[in-house]
Amino acid sequence: MATNQRAVENLRSLRMAAWLGWQIESNWTDPFLFAIYSVIKPIAGALILVFMYMVVAKGGLSNPLFPMIFVGNAFYIYVAMVLMGVSFAVVDDRERYGMLKYMYTAPLNIYFYLLGRGGAKTLIATVSVLITLAFGALLFNLPIDIASIDWLLLVTGLVLGLLSLAFLGIFLGGVALITARHGQFTGEAVAGALYMLCGAVFPIDVLPGLLQAISYILPLTYWIETMRRALLGSGSSQILSQLSNLELVGVLGAFSVGVVILSVLFFRWAEHRAKEKGLIDMQTNY
């Protein structure tokens, strides 16, 4: 009975937070502009990448690394969006809307609430990723063949990757909860920092020793590689090619579980600290 009530409350938190997140994301302008914006933004992003590659890389778009980089970047759209979507809800609710305290006095599950709030941005990111990939396949001859996509690998990898990202977002939400003022930058900053390290722009093989070691402990490294294998049939990294698909997903899964546990523990600690220091309804309007 008690656990049942809890489950109902959790589901409610997730559902209503997702609704709220969607309203906030989609309501800032009229639906037509919103749709245009959602399409133009990823295309612009892809074009910038293509031009950069044409200028910088040997052989331009026919360089064998180009499809790898393009796919890596396409999926990287998720990173900033999911991290921001989940963690920024803490900052936004507290600082901008003054509602975090009312959320905290309501019978809702804060983890489900934050995950729900990130839902809208995840959905928008999914559309962006699809547009980017379709754009690449049609205009730049990316070797993506619908018939040879490894769907099982794609879906499993995507779910595990998004799970890691969402809970990394929870971790950052915990940071925001206790560092009242600087919380808004953490999502973007972390996404920026990880960009170089997780093999999205170049294979981790070329990273110097220490940075390469860091890339090994990032779930994102395994996730992006999994996405490449699922779509293109092979990955970008010599080192990671020693792992079979199953092993790669296994490592990704293990890291995802680790991230979930670590993030929940950290958030609980942050929440406790915020209650001790009176930060839950903190307003830093200066």
Partner: protein, 331 residues
Amino acid sequence: MSTNLAVSTQNLGRVYRAKKREAGSGKEIVALHGVDLEIHQGELFGLLGPNGAGKTTLIKILTTLLAPTSGEARVAGTDVAKNPWEVRRHINMVSGGESSGYGLLTVEENLWLFSQFYGLDWKTARERIREMLKIVGMEDRAKTKIYHLSTGMRQKMNFARGFITDPEIIFLDEPTLGLDVQTSRVLRDFVKNWVRVRKNKTLLLTTHYMQEADELCDRVAIIDRGKILACDTPSNLKRSLNQSSVFHLKVDSLPQPDSQFQGLKGIQSFAHHQHNGLLELSFIVETENALMPILASIERSKGNLISLEKRQPTLEDVFINLVGRGLSEEP
């Protein structure tokens, strides 16, 4: 532990530590000190105290937003620190004087969102939203996005948000702060009625308007500098002053109102504050004989007496008698 206590605290304390880099770094601010409180189910209970008394701090602890630094508090029979989740199922909270809400959502959507977090079915939610909007006089604003609303309107919406979930215990932190007289009256009537009509609903409100406390509350706790100084029904509190007389004087000015009346016989308590360019003096005296020396003293220091009034003791006078200054004076 009696089961019909809605709220109880034992030796509840809260200390804030000033942050590094802020003025008074490392200094401790005692916001609550040894608070023992028992609020019964069905009571409309008021917490009356001046700015900085610790009212908001107490509300935050009871609504699970802030951890106490000592003692314990129970709400709806549950320890707020040990099981906040359970407490949250029984309560709601409104704080006045602020303009929170999701700007991009309409009034109706903001309220609906919260009704859903508390698990109301759609039909009930819609009925309650309509009913509450009618009460706060915002029926015609249901479809307005709230970034178009004035601060006062947002506050009224917020007030409605507290009640649509029909909580067992509701906490109102200065609910009428900054609202116009007419609206304040409507909200006070509603609050009073809400507790009367629904048996077993408990309402705790904080205020620094002594009239609000007097008019609404079954019992009032007077709080100052983190301590509860007295706790009783408004009439009992005032009765404690019945042996004394309360005089209210207006004077154009006095050179040193603080020390002027020291040493005069028969003055039980005294407070003063500046209001509309005049100096207002409140005296609580043991017998009316004490009045003549006071008037003589004013005359000697060339103050012009504008008005003199003898009146029934108010809760403000009770406060003055307990603390030695008025509710609106800086400590």
